[in-house]
Symmetry: C2
Subunit: 224 residues, 2 copies
Amino acid sequence: MSPTTRIPVVEKIFDANDQVAQQNRSLFDLHHTFAINVMASPGAGKTTFILKTLEGLSSKYRMAVIEGDTAPVTIDSDKVSAMGIPVVQINTGGDCHLDAVMLHAGLQSLPLQDVDIVLIENVGNLICPAAFKLGSHLNLLIASIPEGDDKPYKYPNMYRGLDVLVVNKMDLLPYVDFNMAYFQQGVEILNPGLRTFPVSAKTGEGMQAWYNWLDEVVQKHRQK
Amino acid sequence: MSPTTRIPVVEKIFDANDQVAQQNRSLFDLHHTFAINVMASPGAGKTTFILKTLEGLSSKYRMAVIEGDTAPVTIDSDKVSAMGIPVVQINTGGDCHLDAVMLHAGLQSLPLQDVDIVLIENVGNLICPAAFKLGSHLNLLIASIPEGDDKPYKYPNMYRGLDVLVVNKMDLLPYVDFNMAYFQQGVEILNPGLRTFPVSAKTGEGMQAWYNWLDEVVQKHRQK
């Protein structure tokens, strides 16, 4: 595990991953499917946010979900299925992130020609998913209030690679020490001007602004 | 990144890690230092819990802290230093966990002969740290209430390898959906009889029971 022996192996892995990520992107574009990579630490509310996004946009768009899990449990997939939304579960077999190859395999089980937006729930982790591109059009992080305001400073690689940030569990703000200005300053240093949505996926607060924005982004993407 | 090419490499890494973990353990035992590996997801309250543990036990024991961070920030180390407690920071350079080799290097900067208890703050992650032994006497996980009650089911490898579990942020229980019976059932399946401490490191609730238990464990260990 010394850096000198490890780095070349890791670089080869990243190169191979990026090639497959490109293939995934081509596949999405071929079928006019807009793909969102949803990342977060464990328990930030990824599944609840995804379910609310399905609620908000599935009358306008044909949606689907890919669930990445490190263990073979179907807790999240079952919730999506219960809404009548197509879902594919990828079990990473203990791995700490989805990679492009796993996603490519998962996409074989999804009829992309019938999907306008696919939400890909990555494994709960602020480190590993940042290093593996999937081929998605949007890299989204869900931060959450009880996690604390210092996370951008501690997990800079994650925040640097984002296209959009959701700050979830705003309903818990009165009960925890969270300095929004300090948090936002950290985000701004790493990713200037990053589009940010403060929401509570549980109560629905702030979700409409996210729906509107995503709708606009998807429409623009289609006109390309 | 196909499983067939990956597994042999990973096994060699684990073997090498375990050998160094053994060396770390011998080093701790030589100096009668009791070592605790503190794991948790990002924002579960590792640093606050460590600071409170220092407050509770540093009048009886000579304590020290090792801070594992994925980025070169000193936010946590500075808080420990401010208490006059020796602290060594290990920057993993983007890696998702501490390993035994990193810890071995960090221990060179700590005068173990003057340390009774060392708290090792691992990187915030529920997956990778579970796979890398450090040589510690106690593997401790801090779960937290706002993370949700399904985490044992989703991160079974972490829960299986534990010696003790802390459930932090009990003060937030009234404000979130957390079914304690469902959580405990998941823990019990993976790790029957696991010693568990419900606490709020912020308010101090439940911390005295943890101090008493750790005190007893350290005393017993010394009599070996």
